[in-house]
């Protein structure tokens, strides 16, 4: 009888082994980023540029954003609609501003205005990055990101490597390399089509903007281990 009581006591203890909390240091610098990728306009063009504010965990948040132009004779900004009109040939810098919890945040983009009729070669606006290990596992490789008709493509170079010994490998685009809370998973061990671990490969991602994310990261997803990180920069 005593043995039975002991077994039940152990069962009770076992079934109630506590799930506690791990505190994750997920702070990142706040950022204001121009999302639209416009480098060249023709005189008479009207565009609506977009910018996003990312808070201190990399999460997109609504903020009042102010748009400014360095030369209103070239680019005019409608304060109400934030539409930008190309008025005359030349170059102007568009600047966005907002106030974050850490102070003023800005981002800017140089836009060239050409006269109507000039054939404008679409800007490639390509991004690039190099994955570096953040843990003891193998993580390496260069990549480029370019726009497609409906989104972007991530082109991994021949030197790309993810560690095959990782239990639960996954690849993400994110604005916070320390958390997967707002990350976009683009490849994972449990995908129906499997996972890519080594060598050249191209991911096609529809509905994703080229400036939407700042990092490409490799994770061991089940055990929450960041194993590789690349900052996405302009090529």
């Amino acid at each position: 009888m005593k043995l039975l009581k002991l077994v039940f006591l152990l069962l009770f203890v076992g079934l109630n082994s506590c799930i506690q909390e791990d505190i994750v240091d997920d702070a990142v610098p706040e950022e204001l980023r121009i999302i639209s990728s416009v480098n060249t306009l023709k005189v008479g063009d009207v565009v609506k540029l977009q910018a996003s504010y990312f808070n201190n965990v990399g999460e997109k948040e609504n903020k009042n954003i102010v748009w400014e132009t360095s030369n209103s004779n070239v680019l005019f900004i409608d304060a109400l609609t934030t539409n930008i009109t190309a008025l005359a040939e030349g170059t102007a810098t568009i600047t966005v501003k907002t106030t974050g919890s850490s102070g003023e945040l800005t981002d800017s983009e140089i836009i060239m205005v050409v006269k109507d009729g000039v054939v404008v070669m679409p800007s490639e606006n390509t991004k690039k990055g190099t994955i570096a290990p953040t843990a003891s596992y193998v993580a390496a490789g260069d990549f480029e990101i370019s726009k497609t008709t409906n989104g972007i493509q991530i082109i991994l170079d021949d030197n790309y490597v993810a560690d095959e010994s990782l239990p639960g490998f996954a690849l993400f685009l994110t604005n916070n390399p320390n958390s997967l809370a707002n990350a976009l998973q683009i490849d994972a061990y449990d995908d129906v089509d499997g996972t890519h671990y080594k060598g050249a490969f191209t991911y096609i991602l529809d509905g994703v903007g080229i400036n939407d994310y700042q990092y490409l990261v490799q994770w061991c997803r089940p055990f929450s281990i960041l194993v590789g990180k690349a900052t996405i920069t302009d090529k």
Binding site: L10, V24, L180, Y189
Partner: protein
């Protein structure tokens, strides 16, 4: 994956004799040995196992052995943002039976203070090899393995107190693409007073790295192939009566690959009939 439990061989029990033990085993780890033997952090995971271990002497030379982890609880802590307190990943737990071992030990030589035996232990895939929201809360490896060992032991007097030392080597034939393993271990104990045994042990598992299971062909399963470790541990066993006793154990991997890098603790109530 990522954990180990070891039940050690003993000398033959003798016909009708037995050793039975109910244990609670716990391992909580926020770091692990990587595939290169480095120590890296991970989300805190816990493994709590309630088990029954039994040895029964079928004859003077043949023992039946079993290990039944009748409750294995695998859990992971909730991941909480240190910046805003939001839940980044909810905590999760799975309760299930683990992989059961059954085996036979056959006494080869028993002469004076020396004993040599061989043991065949079969690992039955009774646990869940895919559990939880992402399949990683496994309570078993999903494969049927056969571990055959040769065990040698001797008893002697140390500081005028009863003592023993034993060792084993073994080969673990694993299936389902897992690599086979070479096992070895040593153990030594001494009896202090009339009721207390204190012992220390070292166990090691080494992979032959001959398995075909890989990340590329695992079909979405989480697996830990080619686990290796050297663990050291200490145990005290106190006989409350001549047959009934309690034991406490501490074991930690001092090196390893794809295994948790934190110590485990266990406590048990045993019945030693001889």
């Amino acid at each position: 994956m990522f954990f180990f439990q070891q039940s050690d061989a003993q000398w033959n029990k003798g016909k009708g004799n037995g050793y039975y033990k109910i244990s609670a085993w716990s391992l909580v780890a926020n770091q692990h040995y990587t595939n290169t033997g480095e120590i890296d952090p991970n989300a805190t995971r816990g493994n709590f196992t309630l088990s029954f271990y039994g040895e029964y002497g079928i004859s003077n030379k043949l023992d039946f052995i079993t290990y039944v982890p009748f409750l294995t609880r695998i859990y992971q802590n909730a991941q909480i943002s240190g910046t805003n307190g939001n839940v980044l990943q909810a905590g999760e737990a799975v309760n299930a039976i683990g992989d059961i071992d059954v085996g036979l030990r056959y006494g080869l030589i028993k002469k004076n203070h020396f004993a040599l035996s061989t043991t065949l232990k079969l690992g039955l895939p009774t646990g869940k090899n895919k559990a939880g929201s992402d399949g990683s809360f496994q309570t078993g490896d999903g494969e049927f393995n056969q571990l055959i060992t040769v065990d040698a032991g001797t008893s002697y007097q140390l500081f005028s107190k009863p003592a023993y030392a034993k060792t084993y080597i073994g080969i673990n034939n694993r299936t389902q693409g897992f690599s086979d393993e070479f096992h070895y271990g040593i153990e030594s104990g001494i009896k202090l007073g009339n009721k207390l045994w204190v012992l220390a042990r070292l166990n090691s598992v080494n992979s032959f790295k001959n398995g075909t299971l890989s990340a590329q062909n695992s079909q979405g399963s989480i697996f830990a192939n080619n686990i290796e470790y050297v663990s050291v541990g200490a145990e005290v066993a106190y006989y409350i009566t001549s047959k009934l006793g309690v034991s406490l154990n501490y074991t930690s991997a001092v090196s390893g690959r794809i295994i948790y890098a934190k110590p485990s603790y266990s406590g048990g109530l045993f019945l030693d009939i001889q």
